[in-house]
Symmetry: C2
Subunit: 185 residues, 2 copies
Amino acid sequence: MGKHEEQRASLEARLAQWVLVQGLSKTSLRQLAAGVGTSDRMLLYYFRDKAELLEVVLGRIAGAMTLHLTAALPEGQQFAPAALYARVAELAASAELRPYMDRWGEMAAAAARTEQPFAAIADAITQGFQLWLESRLSICNDAERRDMASLLIVMIDGGALLEPLDGGRVSTRARQAMQALLETI
Amino acid sequence: MGKHEEQRASLEARLAQWVLVQGLSKTSLRQLAAGVGTSDRMLLYYFRDKAELLEVVLGRIAGAMTLHLTAALPEGQQFAPAALYARVAELAASAELRPYMDRWGEMAAAAARTEQPFAAIADAITQGFQLWLESRLSICNDAERRDMASLLIVMIDGGALLEPLDGGRVSTRARQAMQALLETI
DNA sequence: GAGTCGTTGTAGCATATGCTACATTTGTAA
DNA sequence: TTACAAATGTAGCATATGCTACAACGACTC
């Protein structure tokens, strides 16, 4: 890796950390530059434009999130829906993963407004999460497994999205009801 | 109602219609003004500032949405969770209510980013929807009814929010799974 | 040492945004 | 008709944003 690539990689890492902590609302080039101690001019030296920068940085964040998830629930183990939901919901609420969920909520939100380049990234992450869940569900029927994985996505992501509303009461109650419901299967 | 109030009411209605169709991404004062055939100057003549304008306009939209919902499912009738979910999910997908759900998704999204004044409005709407659902659920136990209403909110809103992702496949599958799950109660 | 190429700073452009100051028109009451 | 207030237009400010032109600096080769 040449010096240029090294520098850029370092920049990417610092930007990812900054965005993970600060959120997607402070992502003007000048704000990002100040956050990682450089200038907007340099950001556009290392990245073609802002879209490419965000694409790379959000990709990094998504990758790190997948690593965390997979570290907690390695591939190979399979769970009943109630168990998988409990594990993932607990994970999503943990201090370690909370920032990632928050960012994810913001991204899905931005994607809903069809802001570029969020839509494409959110799409990729969603499909990745779908597969991740499917491969950990102990359901034989393919269609049922797909549907259940999607249900879990909506519950987990929806819960994360609605978390800020009503002081978190709605998503807490929903989680309880979902848990109870899944345990009846 | 004086002439001024009339004019303002008309403005509000036109703005609400415009925002309902165009979405929350085109809400600069100049864009709004062009959309309803006036000037940004006049918007600030009838509204203190942009925040007040959005508050009023989004409130109107929320009110209209509640009217639609209540027209379809009048107060007094009560349903089992599966039936209520089916009815509301069908409604939310209907051509009539789709724009409202889209706007609601955008609002929740904006609220997640703690953009003002979206958070407060989204909060109010959420609590209203919670009560609306509770009063239509045929569940005796209060806590269970609350939890189930919140679960439905997360499923319906979460589904609406994730609707744009993966071409709508995720939310469709989730809806099927949820329907099947609720029918086992 | 001169020149070259990769890197960085400075300054700025063009556009958009919320909002305001001031002037002008319009309606209305005397 | 005149006088006054309400309503509307014009122009602009201050700031923010993505991005670019140009110059300066630095290391390295010849």
